[in-house]
């Protein structure tokens, strides 16, 4: 009985994490696009991005803990942080660990952003673009033996939402009003040669 509860909790928390993390990616893209409207201020995008990410971490923790303590998987705690160290579904679970590790790096650096400075924070934040697709593949790969329809449908919706937002971002270009002027001035202000 308990085993089944644990198993369903793992899958349920995993699905919720996927939805929440997909929302986080979309909100992140909206943030760089400087999206706003009369009823949606800029700080709502960034605030949601942060808070939904933290909630996602809670569900992710639930997902990982229930998977580890489940006697069926014989996982132990190590595979939660070291990728590809489990006997159970080594590859697919390992991908989940990779995604989790990247996400931890993103979340921790964001919490201490004020101390590490903008440049380092930004470089590591790009890992998020690696973490999310790996998490999706992990979800598709470690799903139980039969692909349940609802999980598949959920995954497709998340992927489509993220794909649309990224495609729009690439098409719309950088909304930074100074970007091109700054670049033009810098190339004019560069030192040509030195005696």
């Amino acid at each position: 009985m308990t085993d089944t509860v644990l198993w369903y909790t793992t899958r349920g928390a995993g699905a919720v994490s996927l939805v929440l993390l997909s929302a986080v990616v979309v909100l992140g893209v909206l943030s760089t696009l400087r999206f706003q409207s009369a009823s949606w201020p800029r700080f709502l995008t960034t605030g949601l991005h942060r808070n939904v990410a933290l909630i996602a971490v809670v569900f992710l923790a639930l997902h990982i803990v229930t998977a580890v303590v489940d006697p069926f998987t014989h996982l132990g705690w190590l595979p939660a942080v070291i990728p590809f160290s489990s006997y159970y579904r080594t590859l697919w679970l390992g991908l989940g660990t990779v995604a989790f590790d990247l996400l931890i790096a993103v979340v921790v650096t964001s919490l201490v952003r004020g101390y590490i400075g903008h440049t380092i924070w930004r470089t590591i934040h790009w890992l998020a673009y690696g973490s999310w697709p790996i998490a999706v593949i992990h979800g598709l790969g470690t799903g139980t033996d039969a692909f349940s329809a609802w999980l598949l449908a959920l995954t497709v919706m998340c992927v489509v939402a993220v794909a649309i937002s990224i495609a729009y971002r690439l098409w719309a270009g950088s909304p930074d009003p100074l970007a091109s002027a700054r670049g033009a001035f810098r190339s004019a202000a560069e030192r040509r040669e030195e005696r």
Binding site: S31, R34, P41, R42, F43, T46, G47, R113, G114, G117, H118, D176, P177, L178
Partner: protein, 76 residues
């Protein structure tokens, strides 16, 4: 020793995102091009929590609140 709070903006990092003006309209408004104009004078202590929230919300960490000794004469 009396201290004063001041808002300091790194003008090169600032990219005109405008979250500071949304979160602290009492002290910050945006010019015609989306860049912040800070009201002169010290920040009232009561607004410090809002100011700190604005500092955290800035996407490029251009905003800061510093505490200095009370200025005896006007600067600039």
């Amino acid at each position: 020793m009396k201290t004063e709070l001041h808002i300091v903006i790194d003008r090169i990092k600032c990219d005109g995102h405008g979250l500071c003006a949304e979160l602290l309209p009492e002290l910050i408004r945006l010019d015609d091009w989306g860049y912040p104009i800070v009201a002169p004078g010290p920040v009232p202590e009561a607004l410090l929590p809002l100011a700190q929230r604005a500092v955290q919300a800035c996407p490029v960490l251009a905003l800061a609140v510093t505490r200095t000794e009370r200025q005896r004469k006007h600067s600039g």
